[in-house]
Subunit: 210 residues, 2 copies
Amino acid sequence: MKLYDFALAPNPRRVRIFLAEKGIEPEVEQVAIREGAQFEPAFLAINPNATVPVLQLDDGTTIADSFAICRYAEEIQPDPPLMGRTPFEKATICYWQRRIELEGFQAVAEILRNSAERFRDHALPGPLPVAQIPDLVTRGRDRLPAFFEMLDTRLSESAFVAGADYSAADIDALVAVDFAANAAQERPPERFSALKAWHGRVSARPSAGA
Amino acid sequence: MKLYDFALAPNPRRVRIFLAEKGIEPEVEQVAIREGAQFEPAFLAINPNATVPVLQLDDGTTIADSFAICRYAEEIQPDPPLMGRTPFEKATICYWQRRIELEGFQAVAEILRNSAERFRDHALPGPLPVAQIPDLVTRGRDRLPAFFEMLDTRLSESAFVAGADYSAADIDALVAVDFAANAAQERPPERFSALKAWHGRVSARPSAGA
């Protein structure tokens, strides 16, 4: 297997952490996203949608979405389970992944992509030109306090985001919180002590550096 | 089991179709979304996030997201499989679900929620006030032709969205295409004959009326 990666981007990081937790070690190729390599014919032949990460299997077929790659990894390497054991655990992890994606990850992506000069005509991922909308920057910053509070409240009553065990929802939350700090300079207030303590614990796992 | 539903909304429809395909028939309670019942204490006690659908299990626990409910249903009732049999099928269905969500469903939701008077201070789902951004209406309409073309191209080479078999990706695509017609008055051009033929086939399934 080969992972097309971009070390600085959050969606590939989600996959790298997930694979590290599973002990899966694909060959890794960095795609020069900042130089526009994702729009070159060589990469479009791998993923016409011009995004990373892409997992290429040994038969040449590809999986070109971070959630889909994680789903594949969960299936080929069930231990340790990161998407739950029982039906209710699986649904609960999915629920938290959705909330983190919609309320946190997308808010940060909107801040970054609608403000940074390098995304001027690419305010959404993919090959099509999309103009920036400055109001989304404001809206994203307005939304993040509620996202952090939601995580802090949850982590005040639960060791990990989706329950007693570390899961894909913790990976998503870690990636989203770090994405907010790195791409939008937005950090949880100090008073969110449960979120802070959890962040320290999940960041200390070897996978966090993958 | 009990499903908190709103007959006119697309996320509950996704769940109703999925459950119908599985032969799962929960008790159904309509929530008066247009009258703001989701913000009343009685419903907030069921889902503090003020959204439908919510599936309440017989022990009182809840699953409050359409994708999470479908995941639960897939686990408790594996036949017929709607999320794939093999690891690659599961990843491929997940991949198409993500593309449909990001490129179609969210574009329509942005058009509707940023234009309709009833969403004036609720341009995003959830309890927090969010102002409308008119530029998102324009952006959504600009994006939909590419979404329809993506589906038509895919369905020119594949009987169903994710492959040879009907799956959760077809449910999502049907709901997104109908959501575009009903909420944004945007329909695929006649020339997208593969998309049109597929739409006729999936709409003819009894589940489409659920």
